[in-house]
């Protein structure tokens, strides 16, 4: 069975401290899409993302990225191969400046073309020498996205990027999402349903460790009909 999907996850099972948390999860992400995963707390969305990104080991199931099995690769190899994961806790290296944070991203990817990246986040240009620890939540999210865009990844996984952010940052980020989605495929975990409706091409709903629904109709997404699955 061949598939042209950029990311194809089949029957993924994951346990956490001997507790089975993710059950037979299967999804596909095609190139150019923005896929949003919705679900309540405890639906194992983050576990799902962390497993795809290589931070957790699956019990069974396959993860194909660009047709290659990445299920057994260490996280850094997955990142280098073009799949970046932005963690929910919005952690940037507190001890390093914005510039040094970006330098680390460049060191890993050998991509020093900052202009292309910072074009999406003009605000960061004014903060280059500030320490990561002194940034606001929105600024940190911007820095993380900028960092992950280095090396022109094929797919970015974002875990609740807008959680806990001030409304004006959410607007900024929304604009950035739209621009970035022109060049990169994105998969996002999002609790903010109106935002989801606006950016998503396709939605997967998760509940209690299972993928319970896939919504492909743009109309249905905009009408937020997937709420019934949560």
């Amino acid at each position: 069975m061949t598939s042209n999907a950029l990311l194809k996850v089949t029957d993924l099972n994951v346990s956490y401290n001997k507790l089975h948390v993710l059950f037979n999860a299967s999804i596909e992400v095609n190139k150019g899409e923005v896929v949003v995963i919705v679900g309540r707390n405890g639906a194992a969305k983050t576990t799902f993302f962390r497993t795809i990104a290589g931070f957790l080991k699956q019990d069974s199931g396959t993860i194909l990225f660009k047709g290659k099995d990445i299920g057994n690769l260490p996280a850094y190899d997955i990142a280098i191969s073009g799949l970046k994961y932005i963690h929910q806790d919005k952690h940037v290296f507190a001890d390093l400046s914005v510039k040094e944070n970006l330098e680390l991203g460049s060191y890993a990817t050998k991509d020093y073309n900052w202009d292309r990246v910072l074009e999406h986040f003009p605000k960061l240009k004014t903060l280059m020498d500030r320490k990561g620890g002194n940034l606001s939540g929105g600024e940190r999210q911007m820095l993380l996205m900028a960092q992950s865009l280095l090396g022109t990844p094929d797919l970015i996984l974002m875990d609740e990027p807008t959680e806990g952010l001030a409304p004006h940052f959410i607007d900024d980020l929304k604009a950035a999402f739209k621009k970035i989605s022109q060049e990169t495929t994105m998969m996002i975990i999002e609790q903010n349903l109106p935002l989801t409706a606006e950016v998503a091409d396709r939605v997967y709903a998760m509940k209690e460790g299972k993928v319970v629904a896939e919504i492909t109709e743009k109309k249905e997404i905009q009408a937020l009909t997937f709420e019934k699955y949560l």
């Binding site: 990104a53 290589g54 931070f55 260490p74 996280a75 850094y76 190899d77 990142a79 280098i80 970046k84 994961y85 932005i86 963690h87 952690h91 290296f93 507190a94 001890d95 390093l96 040094e100 330098e103 680390l104 991203g105 060191y107 890993a108 990817t109 960092q147 992950s148 090396g151």
Partner: protein, 293 residues
């Protein structure tokens, strides 16, 4: 009287220097790899024994220094790539027992090759200098100066090079360093090899001062742990400062009342653990080793 204490202070500085060198690996093991690195003192012991072997066979201390450091770094490389890689991320007890077993194997090897008895190592030079009336062997002063130089070199490396920044970032959040696509295993290995080389270097420098015995690592292990706790997790600066304090506790304390040389450090550790678990320069919330569950 003044000269006596001044001598004690200078002797203490030498002890601090050695303590700092051998503690770097434990400090970084906690900070970067999140393991309890009980086997660091194997490299210290190896370094000291290589010096003993080469000084007694060739008479060249420099050769001993070179080989001791290289053997220590080499054994660090083997242990890290063959064993510790399988240990990262496992529970605390597991890392302790595995690394302690490596420590025991190392001691066993030393006993097998060199026997049980302790052996003296000749001083590379016997010049005595007089500092403000106190007579001190020049070698001790040089050991301290070398250790401080090593600290500044490491500090520069961590702050000025991209690789050093990656290490600092790894101490803060290893997952995220990986997420950027940085090969964290390579960082672990290189850092570990350097750290074990430093422990071996410490062993080399200490060999002429204390001689060598197969169990020399045990006592040093406890003292090094105390130094790292007092300094705070993953903080090299903290390790240096606490090494300076510990040196004086051992040396000046021991001059005032003999037994303090052995018990003093434990009293310090007792107080620190009970009242300031983060140590002097520790990061709040992630005191030592592992995060709160």
């Amino acid at each position: 009287m003044f000269e006596l204490y001044l001598t004690a202070v200078i002797f203490g500085l030498t002890i601090s220097g050695i303590l700092f060198l051998v503690s770097v690996g434990i400090c970084i093991g906690f900070g970067l790899m999140r393991i309890v690195n009980m086997e660091q003192m194997v490299y210290y012991t190896f370094g000291a024994y290589m010096t003993y072997a080469l000084v007694s066979s060739t008479g060249s201390f420099l050769l001993g220094l070179l080989c001791g450091t290289l053997v220590a770094a080499g054994s660090g490389y083997i242990v890290e790539t063959q064993l510790l890689r399988r240990v990262y991320g496992k529970e605390l007890m597991f890392t302790m027992v595995v690394t302690f077993s490596v420590f025991m194997i190392g001691i066993g090897l030393i006993q097998y090759i060199f026997g049980l008895s302790s052996k003296p190592v000749g001083m590379p030079f016997k010049v005595i200098v007089t500092i403000m009336g106190a007579n001190v062997p020049l070698y001790r002063v040089i050991v301290f100066i070398i250790s401080i130089t090593v600290y500044f070199l490491i500090d520069m490396f961590l702050n000025k090079t991209i690789f050093g920044r990656a290490i600092r970032a790894g101490i803060e959040n290893p997952d995220q360093v990986q997420g950027l696509g940085i090969n964290i295993r390579r960082i672990f290995t290189i850092t570990f090899v350097v750290a074990s080389g430093l422990a071996g270097f410490g062993g080399v420098l200490n060999a002429p001062l204390v001689g060598v015995t197969p169990y020399m690592g045990f006592e040093m292990l406890l003292f090094a742990f105390i130094t790292v706790i007092l300094g705070g997790l993953g903080s090299l600066k903290g390790t240096l400062v606490s090494a300076l304090i510990m040196g004086q506790v051992v040396s000046v304390g021991g001059t005032i009342y003999g037994p303090l040389a052995f018990v003093g450090p434990f009293i310090v550790m007792f107080i620190v653990i009970l009242f300031r678990p983060t140590g002097l320069y520790g990061v709040k919330g992630r005191a030592f080793g592992f995060e709160e569950e």
